[in-house]
Symmetry: C2
Subunit: 229 residues, 2 copies
DNA sequence: TCTCATAGTGTAACAATGACACTAACAATG
DNA sequence: CATTGTTAGTGTCATTGTTACACTATGAGA
C-alpha cells in the first residue's frame, strides 16, 4: 500500500536511552539488531513513528514491544537529523531518555531471537547509527538534571535507604559525597518520608527505609522551591 | 514530481521562536500568514525541512528567508508531534529558539506582502497552530537557561553597560535585582572585559561599557566553572 | 563474645548571599 | 554659571549555606 506526497519527506523514528542502576554502576538497555543495516550491532531500542501516535506514544510503544518495559519515567531528549545518519536514506529520529527501576523490570527479549541486555555505561560495545552520540547527550542530560530535579528516585525502588540514594548520586555524578553533609541536605528539604521499616537481608546494621514524597514536591515546586544536590 | 513510500510519513517542519530585547520588554518575532490554514493569523517563522538539510540548517534558512535575520544564537527547543496539531494532516515540527540583538537587525518583511513584526511577549495576538504552546515552552527555557548559562549576552550589543545587563535579567526573570549585589556577582566571575569607552548620547552620567569574554568563559567552563545569576 | 560492615550523628570554620544609602558625574535648564 | 534631574558607581555587616571532619550504634555471622 504505497503513499505518495508532492514533496519528499524524511522517515521519522524514535529511539530510547533507558538508564538503570545496579549496586555498582549505571546501566543502559540495548538491543542487538537482527536486520540490516548494522545487523548484529547493538542499538538503542526504537522504531518508526506511526501516523496515529505522537512521538511520545511511539517511544512508549517501541519500548514495550522491544523490551517489555512499561512504566518508566520518559522525557524527550533531542531530535537528530543529520542527513547521513542512516544508510537507508533520510531518517530523522526523536530521541528520548528513560529511567527504569532495574529491580522491577525483568527485561524480556522481545520478538523472535532479539537480544536485549543491560550494559555498563562505561563499557559499551560499538553501536549502530549515531547512537553513541545520542547516548552521550543522554548521559550529559541525566548528569545535569539529576542535580536540580528529583529524577534520581525513578532509578530506585519505592523504598530505599539514604545510603542507596547517596550511592546513586555518586555513581551518576562520578563524585564522592560526604555522608553527613548529604544526609543533612537531603533531609532538610523535607521531601523524604521516614518509614518504620528497615532494609532486610543485610549482614550488618539495617538502615531505615525512606520514600520520596511526590505530592509534597509538586506543591513546593509550584511555590518556587528548587531541588538541588 | 511525486514521491512514494511504502509506509506513510508525517511531514517535517521547523519553527523558530526569536527573542529580542528592547529597553522595556522582551519581544518575539512573528510573521503574519498569507495562506491557509490560519490565513492572516500571526505565527512563528518556519517551514518545511528539505531532504538535503538538517533541521538546524532548515531553521537558519527559514529564518533568513522569512525575516532576513542571519547571525543569531540558535538552539533546539523541543519536537512537537501531536497528531492533530496541523489541520492539513500529520505534521511534526522541530522547534528552535533564537536570541537576536534587536539593535543589529533591521527586520525585513520577507517575500511579497508578508508582515513581520516584534511583539511584546506579554501582549501577543492569537497564534496559528500550537504556536502558543511552543512559545510558552521557549519562554520557560529562556528563563531557566539565562540563570545558569551566559546566553543573555546574545540579546545585547557587543558592548553594554552593567545597567543594561541588569535590566536584561530583570526583564527576563521578571524580578527586581539589587544593583550592588548584581555588580558584585557578575564582576566577580571575571568574565567581563572593562573597556575604556562610555555610553554615548545619554543625558546623565555616562556608564562604562563592558564586553563579554567568550574565550575565557569557554576555558573556565571546561574546568567545571558554572555561571549562575 | 568477638569481629566486621555499615548506620547514624554534630560542630566549627569559612564562603556566599542579601539588605541597605549615599556620593559622583554630566547634560539640560533658567 | 548655578541648579536640577537622572543614572553611575561604591562597602559593610548580619545571616545563611557549605564544607571538612571522626566517632559510637547496631546486628549478623563466626
Amino acid at each position: 500500500m504505497p503513499h505518495t506526497y508532492k514533496y519528499p519527506r524524511p522517515a521519522l523514528t524514535v529511539d530510547c536511552v533507558v538508564f538503570g542502576l545496579d549496586e555498582i554502576d549505571l546501566k543502559v538497555l540495548l538491543i542487538q539488531r537482527q536486520i540490516e543495516p548494522f545487523i548484529h550491532r547493538w542499538a538503542l531500542p526504537g522504531g518508526f513513528v506511526r501516523m496515529d501516535e505522537s512521538t511520545d506514544d511511539a517511544a512508549l510503544r517501541e519500548l514495550e514491544e522491544e523490551t517489555g518495559i512499561t512504566k518508566v519515567y520518559l522525557e524527550q531528549l533531542y531530535t537528530f537529523s543529520d542527513i547521513d545518519r542512516d544508510p537507508r536514506g533520510r531518517v530523522v529520529t526523536v530521541a528520548y531518555y528513560a529511567l527504569a527501576k532495574l529491580s522491577d523490570h525483568r527485561i524480556r527479549a522481545a520478538t523472535d531471537a532479539e537480544n536485549v541486555a543491560w550494559f555498563d555505561v562505561d563499557d559499551l560495545p560499538q553501536l549502530a547509527f549515531d547512537h553513541h552520540k545520542i547516548l552521550d547527550m543522554a548521559m550529559n542530560r541525566l548528569r545535569a538534571k539529576v542535580r536540580y530535579a528529583p529524577i534520581g528516585f525513578e532509578l530506585l525502588p519505592a523504598k530505599f535507604t539514604l545510603s542507596q540514594l547517596q550511592r546513586l548520586y555518586e555513581i551518576v555524578l562520578t563524585a564522592k559525597l560526604d555522608k553527613r553533609n548529604f544526609r543533612k541536605k537531603i533531609l532538610s528539604m523535607g521531601l523524604l518520608i521516614e518509614t518504620e521499616e528497615r532494609e532486610a537481608g543485610v549482614t550488618h546494621r539495617a538502615a531505615r527505609l525512606y520514600r520520596f514524597d511526590r505530592r509534597k514536591y509538586r506543591k513546593l515546586a509550584k511555590q518556587g522551591f528548587s531541588f538541588a544536590i
